[in-house]
């Protein structure tokens, strides 16, 4: 190892990278999400929360009487708040969600689900926002304009708070805290109706999803058509940790790719070491060393290197983790303090050590077959059955290429190492292209999976003015397309609560891939159901299921399977007529596609102005999506850059090891060729070209196969989110360009690394130096 310092360093670097990535992955998957539970316990947060319109306090009274007798409820807390659908700026776009406004004192003193101020100030009048929103533009002392319903109100930001269940915009209900004066002011303005915030802790937390449905059902049975918004533990955890899940998945994949490459290189290195040092090994054996002793000596060397590299890798992971943490807090909104975690480090060390030991042992076992006398003769055997590959007399290839091919065909191990490296890197590169094309360049495919449906504007109106509203849209040249797209809750009888999306004509929806098997419902007795839920229940297309809402139950035939990540894969699609068998819509939401270049906010304001109080809410869907999407764009941009840089580093190190090995093994031959008159340039070209057949073949095959399997692999990756079939755009152009870049980069690196040939002087060869 001391003699081959450069190769040792390269192996150490590869193991170090693998250790760093493994440790990062384990820290993210073992502790990062567990951090949510720590905060959940610290703040005694609820498992289910529900905010219900309650101007008269009757809901409060009802729940006070009902919940104590509920055997599922361990403890509960009821507080006054104001509830309204709001829009506010977020991350360069806008965000829309139901917001529960709470008085500061109430919010901080709740017995269940209290909030924790993480950044305060001397300001005494204004608003406290969830820490998720903290940014350069949104900081203490600055102002923020929130549209409460259709009323814009400006507040001064006094600080930021943490709430595990109500601290994010993508969990159906979000909390904001107002100072006492601002709370009173909002009450007087009557922009947001009085409501009751009910927070429940259950005896069995695993029942939280079902209990949310039960609680909603109980309230709506007693108070039909009452407005409410709520969430539960499972949905909140999933919604707040999507970025952690994606990051963790990518890091784990890269970790195992780097580890695989490191192992392949170690195996190649050991086999080469045995071949080059067969005489020394023979001498050891002749003097009495056993094969086991020699194998153990090699094992110890590599294990020693692994431990050293792993320690440095772990240290590096702690250096990088704060940056990753900062990126993810922008999406999770839960503070996380980076600290030493012994268990991930131990598991990483065991994985690395075990893998290195196994591969070193497997490749070093051939020492057993070395016979001392044969080895001392440098392995000269009586018979030599080598084939003369690429015979110069017959080949049509130019001399340099022919000689390069001879080297290629004589180095099976090198070819295997190169092929494995380029195959996995091709997959990595295609994945980067997929992320670039489907998130960074055009978010639509990604958002279709995560969000479901996208449009320009969404307007919710009372059903009384629906006809007038549609007439106005039809006559407005800016409106290209408008369709009913209304979400509300229904229950599967014998199952759970489902989020139902209603549409008058599913052929109009933008995201036609949401139903990936079967078809959208067309008739009033049809339903499309989430594939994940269908699989749990064993449903097939054509099965009949019972759906309940508003105290009524009806049967529906399953027409197709959907995949949307919202609501943990508990959703369904119904036609409007299909829902109207269960109840009447009090208000309807229309999704509208506008002509390119239309000012969406101006359009929404115009609609609001025309229909005033009959318009319950308008959303600039595009801006909302941009706000959500920008978080993922930033995250993915960094991930893609990191992946591409890591790939280049891996290629450089693998080629470094292979070229160095080749130059060491072929030093004599290079000296002979130089003495015959081959120039340094010719020999560099031969060396670099000798790697190219394996590189080109494996890269081309790798890119093609990766393009074919990437969507199924992504489906597997996102399956926990309810995704069954990914239909991302395959980045063919990116993949082709990346493949060419990989090949050219490899060739360039091989040429650079072969410059050492310059130092091989024929004279040294001849004098044996």
């Amino acid at each position: 190892m001391r003699k081959a310092k450069g190769q040792t360093v390269a192996i150490v670097v590869l193991i170090l990278l693998a250790a760093m990535l493994l440790n990062l992955w384990l820290m993210l998957s073992m502790d990062y999400k567990a951090n949510f539970d720590r905060y959940h316990d610290k703040l005694n947060a609820e498992h289910v929360t529900l905010a219900v319109d309650d101007a008269d306090g009757i809901v409060y009274d009802f729940l006070s009487q009902t919940l104590p007798d509920d055997t599922e409820v361990k403890e509960y807390c009821l507080d006054s708040c104001m509830l309204m659908n709001c829009t506010f700026p977020y991350n360069g776009g806008t965000m829309n969600t139901d917001v529960a406004f709470m008085d500061k004192q109430t919010a901080l003193s709740r017995t269940i689900g209290k909030s924790e101020i993480v950044e305060d100030s001397d300001l005494t009048s204004g608003i406290y926002l969830p820490m998720l929103y903290k940014s350069a533009d949104c900081s203490v002392g600055k102002t923020i304009e929130i549209s409460i319903g259709s009323h814009p109100v400006t507040y001064t930001i006094c600080g930021f708070f943490n709430s595990t269940m109500l601290g994010s915009h993508n969990c159906a209900l979000m909390q904001t805290i107002l100072t006492a004066d601002k709370y009173a002011e909002l009450e007087n303005l009557n922009y947001a109706p009085q409501a009751t915030l009910c927070s429940v802790r259950l005896n069995d937390i695993s029942n939280n999803l079902n209990y949310r449905a039960t609680l909603k059902s109980t309230v709506s049975e007693h108070f039909p058509n009452i407005r409410m918004a709520g969430c539960c533990y499972d949905v909140v955890v999933q919604a707040r940790y999507i970025s952690q899940m994606i990051c963790s998945g990518i890091i784990s994949t890269m970790a195992f790719i780097v580890l695989l490459i490191a192992l392949v290189v170690i195996i190649s290195n050991i086999i080469n070491y045995i071949q080059v040092n067969v005489k020394n090994l023979g001498a050891f054996k002749a003097t009495g060393y056993t094969s086991r002793q020699l194998v153990c000596s090699l094992l110890l060397q590599f294990l020693g290197l692994t431990v050293i590299a792993a320690i440095v890798g772990f240290a590096l992971s702690y250096a990088i983790f704060p940056a990753i943490n900062t990126m993810m807090i922008a999406q999770t909104g839960i503070p996380y303090k980076v600290h030493f975690l012994p268990l991930p480090a131990l598991i990483s060390l065991l994985i690395l050590g075990g893998a290195v030991a196994l591969s070193a042992w497997l490749s070093a076992r051939r020492i057993k077959k070395i016979e001392p006398i044969v080895a001392l003769r440098s392995g000269v055997q009586t018979h030599n059955f080598k084939r003369n590959r690429v015979p110069l007399e017959k080949t049509k290839a130019p001399l340099n290429i022919a000689l390069a091919l001879k080297i290629t065909l004589s180095g099976v191990k090198h070819n295997i190492t190169v092929c494995i490296t380029m195959l996995v890197l091709s997959l990595v590169v295609v994945f980067s292209g997929l992320m670039t094309e489907n998130i960074i360049v055009d978010m639509t495919p990604f958002l279709n999976l995560i969000v479901g449906e996208t449009a320009d504007s969404a307007i919710n109106v009372q059903t009384e003015i629906e006809d007038d509203f549609l007439d106005k849209l039809n006559s407005d040249s800016r409106a290209e397309k408008a369709y009913l797209y209304n979400s509300l809750n229904v229950s599967h009888v014998g199952g759970v609560e489902l989020m139902a999306t209603l549409c008058d004509d599913f052929s109009k929806v933008n995201n036609q891939s949401v139903v990936f098997k079967g078809r959208f419902p067309k008739y009033d007795n049809e339903i499309a159901i989430a594939a994940k839920y269908a699989k749990e229940k064993g449903f097939a297309i054509g099965n009949e299921i019972e759906i309940a809402a508003n105290g009524k139950t009806e049967k529906y035939l399953i027409s197709g399977f959907t995949q949307i990540t919202n609501n943990l894969g508990r959703d369904c699609l119904l036609t409007r007529q299909g829902y109207e068998r269960l109840g009447t819509l009090q208000s309807v939401t229309y999704y509208i596609n506008l002509v390119e270049g239309t000012d969406i906010d101006a359009f929404n304001e115009e609609m609001k102005g025309k229909f005033s109080d009959s318009v319950n809410g308008v959303i600039n869907v595009l801006a909302t999506i941009e706000g959500v999407g920008n978080v993922y764009v930033s995250l993915m941009t960094i991930i893609v850059i990191a992946i591409l840089v890591l790939s280049a580093i891996i290629i450089a190190f693998v080629l470094y090891l292979l070229v160095r090995t080749l130059l060491n093994n072929k030093k004599r031959d290079y000296g002979i060729l130089k003495s015959l008159g081959f120039t340094t340039k010719q020999l560099i070209l031969q060396t670099a070209l000798s790697f190219m057949p394996a590189i080109i073949l494996s890269t081309v095959v790798g890119i093609i196969v990766s393009c074919l399997v990437i969507n199924p692999l992504m489906s597997l990756f996102l399956s926990s989110l309810g995704i069954v079939k990914c239909t991302f755009n395959i980045p063919v152009v990116f993949a082709a360009i990346a493949g060419i870049a990989l090949i050219l980069l490899s060739f360039g690196i091989a040429c650079l690394l072969s410059l050492k040939i310059k130092r091989i002087a024929p004279r040294e060869l001849l004098t044996g130096e």
Partner: protein, 252 residues
């Protein structure tokens, strides 16, 4: 008047070994003539191989100039020297140095095709030379590890002559061979010299030295003396006596 093909003036070569300077060649001046079989003799460590490598462009001198025709090759870059070697020189090494991963034929063709892109011509020349050194077609297909030392050295000679070099440099070509195979190799070199090939050979072996028509004696990096033996003929005892006397004068 013989044609000078290679000459050197004030040729010096110094090696640095752990800070200690070792002057191996000191102001050597000589001329090599076309058609000669020049033998450089001397005791071990006299600087014979160093002189050979310097003259052939394998090594660069510390001081002095080496001229090939009108070109001063001692000023050439490494790559230019490589081009010079391939076009004008052939080498026969003591350790033979055939490339193990290539067949015997490919070892020769790799040198030939480097200069001449006409494959047919190169193959034809190779076959001709193989026939001249009695290497069969079957042997040409074998690998260097599958043939005897004598056969391998004869292949080395074919490789050295494939491009019809101006000078053939030979460094102790029989050093690693037994008596009989060594004799075969010397006969081969003599035969090509008789056909007009200029040969410069380094040796410390009397029997090998007798093949030369011109003997240069090197001692402590300086050419001490020169002896002209005339054209070689087998069994010429006078030649042996002349050489012996010369070497005795030189202090051999």
């Amino acid at each position: 008047m013989k044609e000078v093909i290679l000459s050197c003036e004030n040729l010096s070569k110094t090696f640095s070994n752990g800070g200690v300077q070792q002057h191996v060649l000191k102001n050597v001046g000589l001329e090599l003539y076309r058609g000669d079989f020049t033998v450089i003799m001397g005791a071990s460590g006299a600087g014979k191989s160093t002189l050979l490598y310097a003259l052939s462009g394998m090594d660069t001198p510390t001081l002095g100039a080496i001229k090939f025709g009108d070109e001063v090759i001692s000023d050439y870059s490494q790559d230019k020297l490589a081009v010079f070697r391939r076009e004008h020189c052939g080498f026969v090494f003591q350790q033979i140095y055939l490339i193990d991963g290539m067949s015997v034929l490919d070892n020769v063709l790799s040198a030939g095709l480097l200069v001449n892109k006409d494959k047919k011509a190169v193959v034809s020349r190779a076959k001709e030379l193989f026939a001249a050194v009695d290497i069969s077609e079957e042997t040409q297909k074998k690998f260097p590890s599958q043939i005897s030392g004598g056969e391998a050295q004869r292949v080395g000679i074919v490789r050295a002559l494939i491009n019809s070099p101006e000078i053939l440099f030979a460094d102790e070509p029989t050093g690693a061979l037994n008596s009989k195979t060594g004799l075969d190799v010397l006969d081969t070199l003599t035969k090509f010299n008789e056909q007009g090939q200029s040969v410069v050979m380094v040796t410390h072996d009397m029997r090998s030295a007798r093949r030369g028509n011109r003997i240069l004696y090197l001692k402590d990096g300086v050419i001490l003396g020169e002896c002209n033996l005339g054209k070689y003929s087998h069994g010429d005892t006078e030649r042996h006596q002349k050489l012996t006397a010369f070497l005795k004068d030189m202090g051999w």
